[in-house]
């Protein structure tokens, strides 16, 4: 294929953009897949999943009986969330560092524009996530054969559903880096928002364990109700909420609901990716 010609600063011809995107994609994918961090995270996620399954087997061995809707849901959730969380932190670090160090400006004077840059990074993360998921799924398959656990269709559906959710989380990380422009700020915001969304999702469950002190003046009850109301909205915004919602829909066999969840997550991923591209262009270029 013939190489593209020289470009104008800040914008790219489609051919240039394709080349740049491809290069960023391949380089980032290689870097992600072969970095010790990714390997350690994938290994840890697999180990956590394995421990969940061993725990189930031990329960059966001790009590003789266990009833599970999907023995792989918890392992898959832990795997998916750990890997996607790691990839998001990795992409935040890369983008924010490129902005902080002025690398982005140099790239934008070169044959790279924000579309190629963000697109390449997104594709790299998606590929790395897909590879990690494929590894994990192979492991689950082998464990199924060894242990006798069922790997039901619903688990495959949850694995499929996790892809748009992970992309949404990664796109959110890119957008956040583009908006803040600073590594510390981007990581801080990401951690804070992630913790907030997790608190909103699991807060009502934890507060349900707290006994009510009074029928009329019970701050815990008010907080529980408030968190529940917030969670109802957050479950359509938070990637964790979307994953939980989708998993529940899959468990109930509610295919339309599961599909809606996947579409919503994809939509968010696209919007945030485009948002990242838009935000990155003015912020990447120093005046």
């Amino acid at each position: 294929m013939k190489a593209p010609e020289a470009h104008e600063t800040g914008t790219c011809k489609p051919t240039h953009r394709y080349w740049a995107l491809r290069v960023i994609w391949i380089r980032d994918t290689q870097a992600l897949l072969l970095s010790p961090g990714t390997l350690v995270i994938v290994w840890l996620s697999a180990l956590i999943s394995y421990l969940f399954l061993v725990n189930y087997v031990d329960t059966v061995a001790e009590s003789g009986l266990n009833i599970l809707s999907s023995s792989f849901n918890l392992p898959v959730h832990s795997f998916v969330l750990t890997v996607s969380f790691f990839l998001t932190v990795a992409v935040i670090t890369t983008v924010a560092r490129d902005m902080e160090r002025g690398t982005l400006e140099i790239l934008f004077y070169g044959p790279v524009d924000s579309v190629a840059y963000v697109g390449g990074r997104m594709l790299a993360c998606a590929t790395a996530y897909g590879a990690a998921l494929a590894l994990g799924t192979c492991g689950y398959g082998i464990l199924t054969l060894i242990s006798g656990f069922v790997l039901p269709v619903s688990t495959w559906a949850v694995i499929g559903l996790s892809i748009p959710v992970a992309l949404y989380l990664i796109a959110f990380g890119i957008c956040l880096s583009a908006v803040t422009g600073k590594l510390r700020a981007a990581l801080g915001w990401f951690m804070a928002l992630a913790l907030l969304l997790l608190a909103v999702q699991f807060g009502p469950l934890l507060l349900n364990l707290a006994p009510s002190a009074s029928q009329y003046y019970d701050p815990v009850r008010v907080l529980r109700g408030a968190l529940d109301s917030v969670d109802r909205i957050a479950s359509w915004i938070s990637p964790f909420g979307l994953l939980a919602q989708g998993t529940e829909a899959v468990r109930r066999g509610d295919a339309p609901h599961a599909l809606v969840t996947a579409v919503v997550a994809t939509l968010y991923a696209v919007v945030l990716t485009v948002g990242g591209m838009r935000f990155l262009l003015p912020r990447g270029m120093h005046p």
């Binding site: 190489a3 593209p4 010609e5 240039h16 080349w19 740049a20 491809r22 290069v23 391949i26 380089r27 290689q30 897949l33 072969l34 390997l39 350690v40 994938v42 290994w43 697999a46 180990l47 999943s49 394995y50 399954l53 189930y56 087997v57 031990d58 059966v60 061995a61 009590s63 003789g64 009986l65 266990n66 009833i67 599970l68 809707s69 999907s70 023995s71 044959p111 590894l135 192979c138 492991g139 082998i142 464990l143 060894i146 242990s147 006798g148 656990f149 069922v150 039901p152 619903s154 349900n208 009510s212 009074s214 029928q215 529980r224 109802r232 479950s235 919602q245 529940e248 468990r251 109930r252």
Partner: protein, 443 residues
């Protein structure tokens, strides 16, 4: 004055002191304050039974299941806060005044129904939980109450007769033993009367309501045509969102700790040598929020975007069929089982098939439960089970996967999570790390 008299005098003085103490010291028994309030008493049909609850003035929404008859009535009663359960309680024994009037049901501003007060009774032929509840309204209500009362009186007479017969039988037996006149086996004792499970509410009056799915407004119009203050409420009439079969799975050695399987997508995992007994129940699914509010109007739990199963009656006329790769491999009959508590250091329970047990004492007992036995040792890998009726039709939602887990094989698989890690490290080490380069013209 002897010692006894002195003691008596001391005791009398002490008693006098204690009684005076009682007069002066305030009593600390807590009496919660009661306030007069209008409450809606609801007999809501849920599954096959009627759930009784009351909605105090602070509850703005009532919940009922769609397309089944329920009964609601407005009462004036005393309401108090009970801190132990953290709930508002209605003291219906102290005050239970029926508010007369017509219940008007509105939807989107127009009247949907006007319901007058009518007499009703709710009865269970075999007791609540064992037979479906029946609602009798209008003229039928007192007639059914009479029927129940007659049956109850007959049972009382039968019990009384039984005690008399038993007493006479024992006296005769004692007399025969005393006279040494007992030559053969004594005659059988008088038979116990059949247990009386038939139950009924007294004849009450209420508004019988049966509405399709929707959100309504209700208000009670008094005899003067004016709405009764405090009677206006929102009414949510909700449908079931699914039907299925729940299994209560009783492990052979843990009779008191059964597990429950509610979903057809669930798998029952058994140890290779385990035995379990399945008791099937029909069940319906509702939105969690509506179900929890219907069962307890003062509950704060439950969400409308989550779902919960509600268990109905036990399924008795079915066979459990086991399949493997689509082929029937076994038909398991419903059998009576009796439970024996193991005495001694081991403790625990043993479950015996009553039809085959050789323990005479267990053969004579009433069965503790009926169920279908699953023996892991006899089941091949990858078995699926489902309930079928007499015509061979499967019960929807009764399918389950049964798997036998072998914990011994999992030990060495600890290497598995590490395998991808090692593989990638080896590949990465073996290969030179190559990055795709930009075309020369672009550099």
């Amino acid at each position: 004055m002897n010692l006894t008299r002195r003691c008596q005098a001391c005791l009398a003085g002490l008693a006098l002191l204690l009684s005076l103490q009682g007069l002066t010291t305030p009593t600390w028994a807590q009496d919660p304050g009661r306030t007069e309030e209008l409450v809606y008493l609801v007999n809501a049909r849920l599954g096959g039974a009627y759930e009784s609850s009351y909605y105090t003035a602070d509850r703005n929404t009532l919940y009922l299941v769609a397309d089944v008859p329920s009964v609601i009535s407005l009462r004036r009663t005393l309401v108090y806060f009970w801190p132990i359960t953290n709930q508002l309680k209605a003291d219906l024994d102290a005050l239970n005044e029926q508010i007369e009037g017509t219940l008007v049901v509105r939807q989107a501003g127009r009247d949907v129904a006007q319901l007058d007060l009518t007499a009703y009774v709710i009865q269970y032929a075999e007791g609540k939980g064992k037979s479906p509840g029946q609602l009798f309204v209008g003229d039928e209500a007192p007639a059914q109450w009479e029927r129940f009362d007659t049956a109850r009186s007959a049972y009382r007479e039968a019990v009384s007769q039984y005690f008399q017969d038993t007493l006479r039988y024992r006296q005769d037996l004692d007399a025969a033993i005393a006279a040494n006149a007992l030559e053969d086996e004594p005659s059988a004792p008088p038979p116990e009367p059949a247990p009386f499970y038939y139950s009924s509410t007294p004849v009450n009056r209420g508004h019988v309501i049966e509405l399709p799915i929707g959100t309504y407004q209700i208000v009670l119009q008094g005899p003067n045509g004016e709405p009764v203050p405090g009677s206006q409420k929102r009414l949510v009439v909700f449908p079931s969102t699914g039907e299925g079969v729940a299994y209560s799975v009783i492990p052979h050695d843990r009779y008191t700790f059964p597990e429950t399987s509610q979903d057809a997508r669930e798998a029952i995992y058994l140890r290779g040598d385990a035995k379990a007994y399945l008791q099937p129940f029909s069940q319906v699914e509702y939105r969690e929020l509506y179900l929890s509010r219907l069962q307890d109007p003062q509950s704060w739990g439950g969400r409308a975007d989550r779902f919960a199963w509600f268990r109905l009656a036990e399924i008795k006329d079915a066979q459990l069929v086991a399949y493997r790769r689509g082929r029937e491999i076994a038909r398991i009959e419903r059998r009576p089982y009796v439970v024996r508590q193991i005495t001694g250091a081991a403790l625990g329970y043993e479950i015996h098939d009553q039809t085959t047990t050789n323990l005479e004492r267990l053969q004579e007992r009433r069965p503790d439960f009926y169920g279908y036995a699953l023996d892991a040792a006899k089941l091949p890998a990858g078995t699926k089970i489902q309930l079928e009726d007499a015509t061979g039709h499967p019960y929807p939602g009764s399918q389950r996967t049964v798997r036998i887990l072998d914990s011994g094989q999992l030990g060495w698989s600890i290497v598995l999570p590490t395998a991808p890690f090692l593989a990638v490290v080896l590949i990465a080490g073996a290969r030179r790390r190559r990055f795709t380069r930009l075309p020369r013209e672009m550099e």
